[in-house]
């Protein structure tokens, strides 16, 4: 990280793990548009990254998968400008490709003998899942409350669970490894990804950070996000 003397510059971006593919693509775009600039991507859990940013970790941009985490960094006063939402994500039900339990709707999760998994309620995806299951009146408890959405997806891909509640982006990324069962009311429950430049950057680097944030919120980026299954930012 930091500025090179010979015009080589590095822009360090701290991003939620679920942004791995999209941000990698955007970083390439950004490097093309800014010759001599290298984007270094640091992925991790939103909470960890936000805490590290608050602790003064090297980095110019922070993108988290929820607003709560970003709040940690905001409270620490390390954000250069107010965080801005850039994409949203909605839940969907996925099953193994052969759908052994014959899941066709959210209600089928309540059937006896169905092992379904969700995120732990403390994770953003878990909170959303809980809300969704409550509103659908599902009583049967999940077989497991996974720590994050990737773990839920992995269960389904491996055939360890008959169904799982994941983000649409994960369903899209998994491709043929899972079958998706659409949920009509899913759009009611979304999570919002937010991004902000970090303070402590001076001069050209600060400009670059702002430009990267702009790129993330641009129409160009929207196409990348949509392809990956991200949705619109929910209007409050």
């Amino acid at each position: 990280s930091g500025d090179g003397d010979d015009g080589e510059q590095t822009l360090t971006v701290l991003a939620a793990a679920s942004l791995t593919e999209t941000f990698t693509e955007l970083a390439a775009t950004f490097e093309d548009e800014h010759p001599g600039v290298e984007v270094e991507l640091v992925f991790g859990s939103s909470t960890t990254l936000a805490e590290q940013a608050a602790d003064g970790a090297p980095g110019r941009v922070l993108a988290t998968a929820d607003e709560v985490s970003m709040g940690v960094a905001d409270d620490a006063g390390v954000l250069a400008t107010a965080p801005e939402p850039f994409v949203g994500n909605t839940l969907t039900v996925v099953t193994p490709p052969d759908n052994p339990a014959g899941i066709t709707s959210l209600d089928d999760l309540d059937a006896p003998g169905v092992d379904y998994v969700v995120c732990a309620s403390t994770a953003p995806c878990g909170a959303a899942a809980e809300e969704l299951l409550d509103s659908a009146g599902i009583e049967a408890p999940p077989a497991s409350e996974e720590v994050d959405v990737k773990a839920v997806l992995a269960r389904v891909v491996q055939g360890e669970a008959d169904a799982g509640l994941v983000y649409r982006t994960d369903a899209v990324a998994a491709g043929d490894d899972v079958a998706e069962v659409a949920i009509p009311d899913a759009d009611d429950v979304t999570t919002t990804y937010v991004v902000a430049p970090l303070s402590g950057a001076a001069g050209a680097s600060a400009d670059l950070a702002a430009e990267f944030v702009a790129l993330v919120r641009s129409e160009e980026a929207r196409a990348v996000f949509t392809r990956a299954g991200f949705g619109e930012v929910a209007s409050p």
């Binding site: 773990a151 992995a154 269960r155």
Partner: protein, 260 residues
């Protein structure tokens, strides 16, 4: 009685020892200092925490039992029996040490999961059950145990095994009555390692056995999940885990120290 006075511990040993202790203890102290203790009774009272504690205690205990039962013979085999391919077996046994826990969980799923290569033929399912937790913990802890005990067995050497053999003891008798008692400090050290490793394990557990309160949610899993939402709660829970385990260790080691 104190032993013979062999001289003062020299600075060249004391200083690094103290640095080592400091490195290990200081972060713990700061963690304790930086954590709000007021909420502790409230956490201890919560059902989720109590269930997680029970599962943690149970599974770590069973893990130690499994390690002792499986690992002691294995360590003996590696330390005492000459067989072809011993070197390779020894290296393979250590591999789970190197595996990041989550990958270890993935490996367990591919083998013993519901649709795993072996798991699909099993008459019972391991994932989502407390047995699965024990299997995951054993997979992760066994190499630690084996390595520590093998080191102790090698330190002692086989000379008393030979004496036992001249007295007519077959290998099992010699193992039971000579090898094992003589390597006891190593076995205890290995058990402590396995137990502690099991207490702190969550990566493989969550990936293989899942995370459901009351069946598979251990303290570390609970802590990890809590970290995602409220780091302070996570720290407080960690301290509960720590306090309990330190208590157990102090009690146990007291016993051992007397034993020797």
């Amino acid at each position: 009685m104190t032993g013979p006075r062999l001289g003062r511990a020299p600075a060249v040993l004391l200083v690094p020892a103290v640095v080592g202790v400091a490195l290990l203890v200081v972060p713990l102290v700061t963690l304790v200092v930086a954590t709000p203790w007021r909420t502790l009774p409230e956490h201890l009272g919560s059902q989720v925490v109590r269930e997680a504690l029970v599962i943690t205690a149970l599974s770590s205990l069973l893990t130690v039992v499994a390690c002792v039962l499986l690992g002691t013979p294995l360590a003996w085999l590696l330390a005492r029996v000459d067989f072809r391919g011993r070197r390779v077996v020894r290296a393979l046994v250590l591999v789970p040490l190197v595996l990041p826990p989550v990958v270890a969980g993935v490996a367990l799923v591919t083998a013993l999961g519901r649709s795993g290569l072996i798991g699909q033929h099993l008459p019972f399912t391991l994932p989502y059950t407390t047995s699965g937790v024990v299997v995951a913990h054993t997979f992760v802890s066994l190499p630690f145990y084996v390595l520590a005990v093998e080191g102790a067995l090698r330190t002692h050497g086989a000379s008393y095994d030979v004496v036992a053999a001249t007295l007519g003891a077959d290998r099992w008798t010699a193992f039971r009555r000579v090898t094992l008692p003589l390597a006891l400090p190593g076995v205890l050290a290995g058990s402590a390692l396995a137990w502690a490793r099991s207490l702190g394990e969550f990566g493989a557990t969550i990936t293989f056995a899942g995370n459901y309160p009351g069946t598979t949610q251990t303290m570390p899993s609970l802590i990890y999940v809590a970290l995602n939402s409220d780091p302070t709660v996570a720290r407080t829970l960690s301290l509960i885990l720590l306090a309990l385990s330190v208590g157990v260790l102090v009690l146990l080691r007291e016993r051992w120290a007397v034993g020797r």
